[in-house]
Symmetry: C2
Subunit: 232 residues, 2 copies
Amino acid sequence: MRPDELPRIRELPLFSSMSEENFLDLTTAAYLQHFPPQVELIVEGDSADFLYVVVEGTVELFAKSNGRETTMAIVRPVNTFILAAVLKDAVYLMSARTVERSRLLMIPTSNVRTAFENDPKFARSIVSELAGCYRAVVKDHKNLKLRSSVERLANRLIKYHTEQGANGTVELFHDKRTLAALLGMTPENLSRAFNTLKPYGVEVNGTSIHLTDLPALETLAKPNQLIDDRTV
Amino acid sequence: MRPDELPRIRELPLFSSMSEENFLDLTTAAYLQHFPPQVELIVEGDSADFLYVVVEGTVELFAKSNGRETTMAIVRPVNTFILAAVLKDAVYLMSARTVERSRLLMIPTSNVRTAFENDPKFARSIVSELAGCYRAVVKDHKNLKLRSSVERLANRLIKYHTEQGANGTVELFHDKRTLAALLGMTPENLSRAFNTLKPYGVEVNGTSIHLTDLPALETLAKPNQLIDDRTV
DNA sequence: TTCTTGGCTTGATAAAAGTCAATCTGTCTG
DNA sequence: CAGACAGATTGACTTTTATCAAGCCAAGAA
């Protein structure tokens, strides 16, 4: 890893409170690497060798069963993935691939666990990160079980809109087929869901979406903090 | 708490490796209490006051949104619930109610976090427990996104069958409406799904189910370790 | 016993979502 | 520039799932 990149990593919530010594132990063992788009980083069922941190780019977590495939999550900077498998020394439950050219920090499993034992503050950060991941999946699960596909799309648009500055425009950072899989529906159905939302002020232009009647959209979507708010 | 009950708690994976001193600190602050059936223990949105451990009985975790309700999980002895909310000092994402008369250990949030700071071995157990919870939800999510309702039922029956000794009989420890909600379908649809499975050797008798043709059922269900195996 | 009750099942129907095939559209490439 | 291509959309249709209403059945109460 280039030494000038260390400070950026150091600032991440996961690492900011640990001791300098333990941070160096972790990072000297780690790799910071570029990957081209569409590279399979890990395959579900393999044993966990590295903890991954997305420093730049986008990573898709997906899962397969019985010939079907679905997107589980999109990981953007700066976030980790497959932390739970690393901590349990278990096999991955999800596969991961890069969506675009990405820069990833890869920390060997054993170093993560050593740092966890030696540095109580790092242990605290790990737990906070892991609990956050848990709560994110619970929210996804509630979303899927309690809402129709049109409602999921509407709420997702409102969520992105808020996160992107609430200026009337939403930019999708992944293609629509991925959005469809993320929302648990087919691409065809996503198209139709967008049409259903047209009367509620949703104007689609490729990956750029204008929301011209947010109150109407919210009336339909009925957003719920305990599902849609990332920070809760 | 009665002193003769301490040893049983002590043996739980979550507590077995922590120091005697810290264990006593935790348990003197905790309450071990009986609850009748159908008591609402916590409500989603409330802030996390206690970590709960189901010592005896059954607890249902559920969530509501926009007038709809679904079962998120059934917690049986000996397991914890809402650990993530406690560790993040956040609000509950799920509500909980007793299904039958149950005995629960309630540990105040602040004591859990103190013990986490003071006892590295307890911290290790907490992380293992939390990672396990995370992986359980990921499996549930995969189950819901990658399978039809009949497949979910078939796999659930196989799972229970394995866990209960694989002797040809499965006993449901919750009523069918709860099973339906847990599997993400309506009670009517569960009834029909059981009918669909009749040709595959599934004989229903109230809450007791016989599996007379496991190979056929497995051919239909296509069980997947990375979804169905609790221990992976 | 008879009545009531709640959970379960069944049937008819409707809505939601998926599938398949065809078409469109913008981008890339030769 | 034309052609190829991938992603997106649309239409027709099927399957899956939900909804609503009615009936069944076993357990508990009078």
